[in-house]
Symmetry: C2
Subunit: 332 residues, 2 copies
C-alpha cells in the first residue's frame, strides 16, 4: 500500500513558505512478524520544529532535505502482527507528517481510554501541556499568591500555562497578539491581558498590570517580551525559558535585551528547559491534568486544519499567530 507524506524540500530562510515542503507518495512494505500498520488520525505542528529545519547541532537532530518530516501524531492500528498493538488500538508516535506507517512498536505508546478526544494527547495532555506544567512546577517553582506572567498566552503551551497558573493560586498576567485572543484568554480566568501589538510600551503595560512586579515569567517569546519582563521582575524572580518564538525565523541575529544587568540587580534566576528531559514525571502530570479536565477546570484549546496537504499551512500559521491553543491537523 501507499502512504502520503510531507517532506522537507528546502531549508526555510526566514518565515517558512509552501515551497519549503513537498508532498510525496511512498510504498509501504507489508507488515512482518511483530509489526503493525498505523493510519494517522491527527498530527501535531509545533514551533520547535522550525529549529529542526536548520542544519545545526541542537538537542535534537535536524530534519534532512528530501526526507519525511517528523512530529507527534495520533493514529489507529489497522493491520497487526503484534499482540501488544491489536487492530483498533489508538497510538501516540513521533511519525507525524504522513498518512500511514509501519512499525514494530519502538517508541510507540498506546493511549489510555479517556472520555475526551484522543487529539488532546497532542496538546493539553501531551507535550505542550506537560511543557507548561514542567515550567511552572519543576523549573520556576511557582507558589500560591505569586504573580505569573505568560507570553504567547493563547498558544498551545501558553494557554495551558495560564490555566495551571490560576489553579496553583497565582495572579496571572498574559500577553497575546490580538484583541480577539485577549477576550478569549480572559474567559479562561486570567487576571490581566495585554495585547502586545497595540499596548504601546510593553514595559509600561506590564508595570500597570503588575504594579508590585512579577515573581515568575514563563518565557515563550524572547525579544521585547524578555526586556519588559526583566524590567518588571521582583527581586529573586524566576524565569522559565521554554521558547523564543519571536526569533525562530530570524535571518540575521536579533540582539538581546539591553537590560540584562537586571539579572544582577534583582538576583534573578533564569533557566532553560526541554520537556523531554522531564518525561519521567509524565505520569504525575497526566494524573493531575486528567483530573482537572474531568472536573472542567482546564479548557482544552485547539485550532484544527483538515488534511495532510494543509499541514505546511498549519505549521506556517504558528508563526503568524493563526492558532488559538494547540494547532493540529486532522488527517482523515
Amino acid at each position: 500500500m501507499n502512504a502520503k507524506q510531507i517532506q522537507l524540500k528546502s531549508r526555510p530562510e526566514g518565515l517558512p513558505n509552501a515551497n519549503n515542503f513537498a508532498e510525496a507518495e511512498v510504498a509501504l512494505a507489508a507488515i512482518k512478524d511483530g509489526e503493525f500498520l498505523v493510519k494517522n488520525l491527527w498530527m501535531s505542528v509545533d514551533p520547535y520544529m522550525r529549529g529542526r529545519m536548520i542544519d545545526r547541532k541542537s538537542y535534537i537532530a535536524p530534519f534532512e532535505i528530501g526526507a519525511v518530516l517528523e512530529g507527534g501524531a495520533i493514529g489507529e492500528v489497522i493491520e497487526s502482527n503484534n499482540s501488544e498493538f491489536p487492530v483498533g488500538s489508538k497510538v501516540n508516535s513521533m511519525h507525524g507528517w504522513r498518512s500511514h506507517y509501519v512499525t514494530d512498536g519502538t517508541e510507540i505508546t498506546r493511549l489510555p481510554q479517556t472520555p475526551i478526544s484522543e487529539s488532546h494527547f497532542l496538546g493539553v495532555l501531551g507535550m505542550p501541556g506537560m511543557t507548561a506544567w514542567t515550567g511552572l512546577n519543576r523549573i520556576a517553582e511557582l507558589k500560591s499568591g505569586e504573580t505569573l506572567f505568560v507570553s504567547a498566552a493563547s498558544g498551545a503551551v501558553g494557554s495551558v500555562a495560564v490555566q495551571i497558573g490560576k489553579l496553583m493560586g497565582a495572579r496571572v498576567i498574559a500577553s497575546v497578539g490580538s484583541d480577539e485572543k485577549a477576550e478569549h484568554i480572559k474567559s479562561l480566568g486570567v487576571d490581566a491581558v495585554i495585547n502586545y501589538k497595540t499596548c504601546g510600551d510593553l514595559t509600561a503595560a506590564l508595570a500597570q498590570a503588575a504594579p508590585e512586579g512579577i515573581d515568575v515569567y514563563f518565557e515563550n517569546v524572547g525579544g521585547e517580551h524578555l526586556t519588559a519582563a526583566l524590567n518588571n521582575m521582583k527581586d529573586h524572580g524566576r524565569i522559565a525559558v521554554c521558547g523564543m518564538i519571536a526569533q525562530y525565523n530570524d535571518t540575521v541575529p536579533t540582539p538581546g535585551p539591553a537590560n540584562l544587568a537586571q539579572i544582577i540587580m534583582k538576583k534573578l534566576k533564569i533557566e532553560g528547559f526541554i520537556v523531554f528531559e522531564h518525561w519521567a514525571h509524565y505520569p504525575e502530570f497526566a494524573k493531575q491534568m486528567g483530573q482537572w479536565l474531568a472536573e472542567g477546570k482546564v479548557t482544552a484549546e485547539q485550532t484544527v486544519y483538515e488534511g495532510l496537504s494543509n499541514a505546511p499551512e498549519a505549521f506556517i500559521g504558528l508563526f503568524e499567530g493563526k492558532n488559538r491553543g494547540k494547532m493540529i491537523v486532522k488527517l482523515t
Copy 2:
C-alpha cells in the same frame, strides 16, 4: 578636628572623570559617650559603586550629589569613649572616601589579629573574595573536574575566582585585557588565558581553550563575553552573574547577546547574585580563605594608589583596566 572627604559633585555620564568628584574638608564633632574616632588607613574602590552614582532604584540607594561617597574602609581607632573599640583597634566599615569619622560602632566590625596586612580585608578576605567564593560555591555549585571560565580574571573578584576554581579541582580558563595580565594570571595556575582584546573572535578563542565546552561561567563583564560563553557552554551549564562591567558606563543601552536561545537549547541556568545577601556564610568563607592564605595556596593581589586625593583616579582606573587584583587606596 577636620576630616577630608571625597564627595560626588555630579553624576557621571559614561566613564567617570575627575570633575565628577570634589574634595572637601568638614569639621568633626567631639566624640560623645559611646562614640569613637577612627582614622582610615585604607579604602576600597569597587565597580559596583558606579551603579550607585546613577539616580535609580536598585538593591542599594544611590549616592547623593554633594554628599560624601561611601565604600569599604579599614581604619584605626585613635580616640574612644567605647570600651568595645579601644584606641588602637583596627576596624572595617563602609565609611570610606574620608580621612576620619566618628561613630557609635553601628555596622563597624573589629578585625581579628592576622599575620597578613589588614588591607586584605578589603580584598581577598573581604567583599571581593567572598563574592568569588559565593559565586562558585553557592550559585554555580562548581564541581571538581569541571571547566570554569572567568572573565575580568585579573580583577579583584576574578583573580580570586580563578584561584578558588583551581583549588576546587576545576580546569580554569580566564580572560583578561592585556598580555601582561595574561602572563601574570598564568602564574596563578590558570590552565588557559585569553587576551580578549587581541584574540579576534572570542567565541572561537574560547572554543579553542575549552574544546569540550564550559560547565560554569563566572560572569563579570557582559556583552561579547556573555555571547561567547553562551556559544561555548555545555548542556546544563551554569552562569553565575556577578557583574557586567562592560556596560556600567554605557550612555545608551547596549543590546544584549543575540544568542539567548542557547539558554533553551543547552538548558542553561543563569543566576544573578549580590554577595551581601550571603553574608551569613562569611565565617565559613573566612575560615577557608584564611587557611588557603596561611598555606600559600592563594595569592592576594593588590594595586595600591596613595592618598585620598587619588581615590577618584583609582576608581576611574577600574574601568580602564589599570588594576591587577584588588584596587585600594592607602590613606596615610
